[in-house]
Structures are given as C-alpha cells and as structure tokens.
C-alpha cells in the first residue's frame, strides 16, 4: 500500500507582488491548450444530461439558480398575500376576508417572507457567488448544498399545500405561546409552522457551513483574509450568525413548541412550572439576528456595485469589514427590545436600549464609506445604482425609526402597532429587497449571459420605490393613531380608513412594478443583449470567467494579487496549473494566507441529497400525526446515509497522502 516516500514539493508560491519583479515573465498559456483543458473539465464536472442529471446535480450554480428562482417565487407568493391583506384593510369593516382566513394569510405572509424568501434568497446569492468570487470550482460540500436546497423546497411545498387545505399557520410568524400552544391552537395549523421552521433552519445551517468552509479553505491562492471581497465577508459574517441563531429557533420550534403540542412537554405552561416568556426570549434571540442575517448580505451587494460604477476601489475596506463583524456581534445583544412591554427589569431594558442604539453606528460607517467612495470617483447611474439610491432613501428612514424604537418609553407607545409594521418594512424592503434588485440588475448578466433592459429597469425602480414609500409611510401615522398590527379589520370611528386606503393604493403600484420586473427578466433572458464576461468592467473574480460561468468555473485557479483582482492585475491573469482534469479536483488553500495546501476531490453528482431531504420530510411532516413516521423516516434515511458514504468511499485514481509525519503515494 505504501510506496517510498517522496519529498514534499515546495509549495508553489503565490506570485510575488509587483515590488519584487519576477525575473523572466512567465509565458502565456497556449490558447489551444486552454481550450483543451476546458473541454476535459467540462466533461468531468458536468453530470449526466436530462432530467436525472437535473435531479442529481451538485453544481453550486445550478443549485444556486434554483434557490434564487424558488425564493423569488416565494417573494411573489408573500406579495400576493400582502395584496389580499391590503384589499381587506383598504376600508373599515370590509368583509372580503374573515378573521380565520386573515390570520392564516398574515401568518403565512410573515413566515414566507422571513423563512422562505429573505434568508434563502440571501443564502442563494452566497451559494451562487461566493465560490465564483473566491475563485473556487464549487462549494466545499456540494451534496450538503443540494440537500439544503431540497429540504427548503420540501418546506415550501409543505407550507403552501397546508395553506390551500385550510391548515395554514395562524398564530403569527412569531407564534407566541400560549396562543400557539396545544390549548389555544388545537389542530395542525401551528404544527405546520413549527415544522416549516425546522426545514428552513436546516437549509440555512447547511448553507452557512458551506459558505464558511468555502470561504476559509477554497479561496484562490493569494486571497489572504484581508483581500476577501466585501460581498464574501458579509456572507461569512452572516453564516456565523446563522450558526448561532438558527439553533435557537430550532430549539424553540422543534424541541419546545412542537414537543409541547405533540407529546405534552411543559416548557410554556405556568401551571407546571413552565414559562410563557421563555418562548419570547429564545425566539427573539434568533429573531433579532435574523433581521441582520437578511440585511448584511444585502449591504454586501452594495459595495461592489458602488465601487464598480464609481470607478473607485471602495473607501474604508477595513472599516466596512469591521462594521460587518461588529454588527454580527451586537445583533445577538438586543433581542429584549422586542419585549419592552413585558414585565422585565428596567435596568436590563436600558442595556438593550444602549445596544440597539450602538448598532446604528457600524451601519452608519458602511453608508459613509459608500458616499465617500462616490465622492472620490465619478459615477454612472445604471439601474443598479438607482436601486442603491432607493435603498438609502428607504433604508435610512427605517434605520432612524429603528433608533427611535430603541427608546423604551417611545417603544411602549408604538410596539405592536402599524408604526412597527412600517419600520420593519422600511428596513427589510429598503435594506434587503432594494439592494437585492440592485444585485439582480448587476449580476443577472453573470447568471444568464444577457443584460437586463435598463429602460424597463428604470421604470421598475421608480414604481417600486414610490410604491413602497406610499404603502408604508402612512403606516407610521396609523401606528401613532393607535392601529395595532395583526388586525383583520377596524371600526369606522377609529378614523384609520383614509390612510389605509392610501397604503392599499401604494400596494397596487408595487404590484405593477414587480410585474414590469418579471417582464424584463423574461424578455432579457430570451433576447437581451449578450453580456460578455465582464459587462460592467468590474473587479471581482466572478467577472474573470465567462457569462454564464462554465460548470467548472475556472480553467485554472487564479492567483490573486490584491483586493480587486481584475483591476490590480495589469496584463494577463496569473494562474496555477497542474490540477487534474480527469477527475473533479479543486485547490484547497490555507485559512489565513490562502497558500496552496492540497488538492481535494469534489464529489460527483448524487441522488442521495434529494432522497435524504424527502426522508426528512417524512420525519417532520409525519411527526405531526404519529411518532411512527419519525422512526420510519429515520430508518429510510439510514439507507440514504449509507449511500452517501458509499459514494464518498469510491476510490478514483492514485492519491498523494500527507500524513502528519510524511508524504506518501497511495491508491
């Protein structure tokens, strides 16, 4: 088995910086050889064709695209629910939707937007772009990635089937106990919510682990920590947040709420020593970071857009990175500001007020740095930039009401009213959806190879931004006038009718703008202008390959010499050759300095992710009905785990083993 030891080769160094000029410039790679390598890589990295290939694909771009499309469909579904609510609330005592249906709709709207649109969409953007931006061929755990997506998909189908059979969750997306407990919510509606959370939480954790390890270990040689693109930094910070936030909601929904409902555990029952406030603590310990999990990646979209169109390297790279990290830390220290109306000690409340205000500073830092970047350059106002403007216009408003809400005294006045509804929509639509649209206009060419129409884009931008502000600004005033959230109707004498009608009119404008966007996507995807690899002359490695990228992403790993590879490198790109082209091999680099470390064999296409996700579906959906489904589902999944491991244990070709002691050839 063990062959004579061969000496460890010198680690192929990163090309020295421009200061130490290399003696003879290395020769250009022969174009024909490149094309040949590309062809071989294509053959190895592409799975089987057809439907089976589609089901078994583990390519991060293929999975990422499905993720993005599914999450966007969820945005549309949540939007339709929002439109139904706006119709019902457009005037006092309207009878379009009764309370039973309305409660299901608003709960599904919130759960869809938070769990099935926002988080998965941000994860999806990361799963698609992080490997491209760090110059990798795939994510670190491709099958886990596919498993995460299918788990999420099972959750999507499950929620909407439940809604259509009148079993949609109806206790709010926060599912406060005891309302959501077994006594006050009999039936399966809240079970659906609890299991839905389990699905999305598993999917998010899978994505987070993948993004963290991809960023740590799969970076292009030379991309030391201080050269990681800010987009990737934000995804990295958010992935760490997911790792610490999602277990909280998993505990709350699966281990506590679902167990209280199914097997009679006593977490929340005051009569037997349980505690109703415990739910709020643990839910918001997840729920507040959740907002930043949605919004930090969106800020990560803004930086590359601003620097590309200002033609300036972003001002304050280090400050922005530190701002991201600080936000990630502080996000876990302010959950109690959702609970100022509960009987908790005053001193504790003041600490959370302070934390809630302090978190405005790192966000301010990022905004100031973008404006400075724009000042230092000259910009071109593309649709993506327009959306960045819309983002600032809307989000800063939400940020300021956020600071106001941190005040305990004021919060007690507007907590759980339409003021908070306005605030959270300003923050989430402003801070996540508008940057997301900016990102769509910026990266659509990379994903599809075609440009979105800028003219339609401008219309989309103006209608959407105006619609959002017309819909949600009046809600601030409604909240101050005492309108609580989550009500299916109101009495005429409250005087809330006029502003509600205005808000509903705004919703129509939003709907029109989103339809325009869909038309734009359809028209551009089929017949848009061909983009080319780098239509915006941008700087990241994602633009160093064709649009859409080939399945293997890059023919050779690119050597990175700065934070802006395509702007820093003059002349031909420096690459490292020697990865095998007859199996799925990728380069692993060291965690801090990204020096080449070893070659890793990436798994082939596989059906087991889908199979295991379906097994998990049996376990969790079945757990609502009988514990036997849980046992059965786990038994079925053992087969999947075995298959998964079996596939991983397939030997292919000679190996070069680096034990802690020596380097050995083996097979």
């Amino acid at each position: 088995m063990t062959d004579p030891v061969r000496p460890l080769p010198d680690a192929p160094g990163v090309a020295p910086g421009p200061a130490a000029a290399p003696s003879p410039p290395p020769p250009l790679l022969d174009a024909d050889a490149l094309a040949r390598d590309a062809e071989r890589l294509e053959a190895v990295w592409r799975g089987p064709r057809g439907f089976w290939g589609w089901l078994t694909s583990v390519d991060h771009k293929s999975i990422g695209k499905r993720y993005i499309v599914t999450a966007f469909l969820m945005f549309l579904a949540g939007g339709i629910e929002a439109a139904m609510m706006r119709a019902q609330l457009s005037g006092p005592l309207r009878g379009l939707i009764g309370p039973d249906r309305y409660n299901q709709i608003f709960t599904t709207h919130g759960s869809t937007m938070m769990f099935l649109f926002a988080v998965p969409m941000m994860n999806a953007m990361g799963l698609y772009f992080v490997p491209l931006m760090v110059g990798a061929r795939n994510v670190a755990f491709p099958r886990l990635n596919a498993f995460g997506y299918y788990t999420y998909l099972v959750g999507v189908v499950f929620l909407y089937v439940s809604l259509f059979v009148n079993t949609g969750p109806d206790a709010g997306w926060t599912s406060y106990v005891p309302l959501a407990g077994p006594e006050f919510s009999p039936g399966h509606r809240v079970d659906v919510w609890a299991q839905l959370v389990t699905f999305t939480e598993i999917a998010a954790l899978a994505a987070a682990v993948n993004i963290i390890v991809t960023t740590f270990k799969l970076r292009a040689p030379g991309m030391s920590l201080n050269r990681i693109p800010i987009f990737v930094w934000s995804q990295l910070v958010v992935s760490f947040m997911i790792v610490f936030a999602m277990p909280a909601v998993a505990t709350a929904s699966t281990i506590q709420l679902a167990a209280d409902r199914a097997v009679g555990t006593q977490w929340f029952n005051p009569a037997t020593g349980g505690d109703a406030l415990l739910w709020q603590h643990i839910f918001w310990f997840f729920g507040h970071p959740e907002v930043y999990i949605v919004f930090l990646p969106a800020l990560g979209f803004v930086t590359p857009i601003v620097e590309t169109f200002a033609r300036r390297r972003v001002f304050g790279y280090t400050a922005i990175v530190l701002a991201n990290i600080t936000t990630g830390f502080f996000a876990f220290g302010l959950w109690v500001h959702h609970m100022f109306a509960t009987p908790i000690p005053e001193l504790g409340q003041s600490l959370f007020t302070a934390a809630s205000m302090v978190i405005a500073i790192p966000t301010g830092v990022q905004i100031f740095c973008w404006i400075a970047t724009l000042f230092l350059g000259r910009s071109r106002m593309t649709t993506a930039m327009l959306f960045v403007l819309g983002f600032l216009f809307t989000f800063v408003n939400g940020g300021i009401t956020g600071v106001m809400l941190a005040s305990v005294a004021f919060d007690k006045q507007v907590h759980d009213t339409f003021f908070v509804v306005a605030h959270l929509h300003y923050v989430l639509l402003g801070g996540a959806v508008l940057p997301l649209f900016a990102g769509f206009y910026f990266w659509f060419p990379k994903i599809t190879g075609r440009m979105l129409s800028e003219t339609l884009g401008a219309w989309h931008f103006w209608l959407f931004t105006i619609g959002v502000n017309v819909t949600f600004f009046p809600m601030h005033i409604l909240g101050l006038q005492g309108m609580p959230r989550r009500i299916y109707t109101y009495l005429p004498e409250t005087g809330w009718g006029g502003l509600n009608l205005l808000a509903s009119a705004g919703a129509v404008v939003i709907a029109v703008s989103v339809i325009l966007f869909l038309i734009n996507v359809w028209v551009s995807w089929t017949a848009g202008a061909v983009a080319g690899p780098n239509p915006w002359a941008s700087s990241g490695l994602d633009w160093a390959t064709a649009s859409p990228p080939p399945v293997y992403n890059f023919v050779h790993p690119v050597v990175v010499e700065g934070r802006h590879p395509l702007w820093d490198t003059v002349g031909p790109l420096a690459v490292l050759t020697g990865l095998r082209t007859d199996r799925r091999e990728e380069l692993i680099t060291t965690t801090f300095d990204a020096l080449p470390d070893h070659r890793h064999q990436s798994p082939r296409h596989s059906i087991w992710p889908l199979y295991l996700a379906l097994c998990m579906g049996v376990v969790w959906i079945g757990s609502m009905f009988s514990p036997w489904f849980v046992l059965g589902g786990f038994a079925l999944s053992l087969l999947g785990l075995l298959g998964w491991g079996w596939q991983g244990s397939r030997a292919s070709g000679p190996e070069l083993v680096a034990t802690p002691h020596d380097l050995v050839e083996a097979s």
């Binding site: 790792v243 075609r450 031909p572 420096a574 690459v575 380069l587 244990s649 190996e655 802690p660």
Partner: protein, 211 residues
Amino acid sequence: MSPRVDEPLVEQRAVGDLSLLPTVTFGSRSLMWWGTLGFMVIEGWTLALIVAMYFYLRQNYDAWPPLHTPAPGIAVATWNLAVMLVSCVPAFLAARAGKRLDRGAARIWVTVLALFGLATVILRWYELWALNVRWDTNAYGTAAWTIVGVHATLLLLDVADTIGLSLFYWIGRSPVKMLSDTNDNSFYWYFTVGVWIPLYVIVYLGPRLFG
C-alpha cells in the same frame, strides 16, 4: 436560453504548478474536519441553549427537583459516563492508526469504538428512565429529558456513523481518504463524550448537590 458565445478567454500566464500537492490530508487541513467542526459548534450551541433554559426554568421553583419529584438515580448514568470515557481509548487508537495509514489497525479500533458506542446507546435508554420523572410531569421533567434526549440523538448519530465506517472497512471499500475520515470520526467522538461531562453533572448530580 443562455447565449453560447465563444468568449476569448482572458489571457493567462502560469506562475506555478500544483500537480505535486497532496490529495489527502489529516486534521484541520482537510475539509471534512471543518465540516465536523461546524456540526460540533451547532450541536454544542444547541445544548448550551437548552442548558440555559433548564436554569431559566429552575428560577420558577423553590426546590429542585420540585416537591414530590424524586431526584434522578445516578448509578446507570455514572456507569455510562465511565463507558464513554473508556471508549476514548479505541477512538484515539483508531485515529492514530489512521494517521499512520495502518488500515488493519484502523479497522479493528473503529469496530471496537462502534461496539462501545452501541453499549452507551443501550445504557442511555435506562439512563433516561433513571431520571425518575416523566417529560410531561412538569417543567423540570421536560428540561431534564430534553437535555439527555438531545444528547442521545447526537450519540445515536455518531454511533451510526461509526458503524457505517467500520462496515466500509470490513467490506473493503476503504480508499486512503477514509483513514482521514477515521481521524475526524474520533475527533467527533471526543466531542460527544466531552460535552456529556457537564451535562451529566447538571442533570444527574446537580439536583442532589445544589437542590
């Protein structure tokens, strides 16, 4: 719908060669180690949160365990802890064999570890009932059952993984990469055992020591 155009690929110059880099590495160099670490952080954090809730509910009671609830029996739990601690020896030997590329020894020790694992799972069943309270009796029972139960699922998962690994060794599907996986498997086993020590103290000794 994607346009297929022959892009002139960006010009590239080769500045180094990777073909002599190793393909299998051990410990923190390998991706699987990082995946295992991620799993450990997630599970460890989940357990930490549950322990926090255990103590949160503790505040609602004057006595712990609550009046008329017997304290948990510690015999089985202590035996099981001993078994777990001893099982770290085969885990260590398996990892060492892996790092020495000694397939034969790795196979033996992984199998021994799997048997130890099975023993802990069986003991765990009796350990749950030794809590002397049902999960639906009161919040104390709920919290205690949850801590032991969640750790039991981790245990189960780890034992299943170890059994699968030894199975592959015996039927001869063991590429050299599996020796690295064996190392990670032991790494995860240390975690499962290590995290149980404080949980054992909290759930089984705690009510007796600090009532």
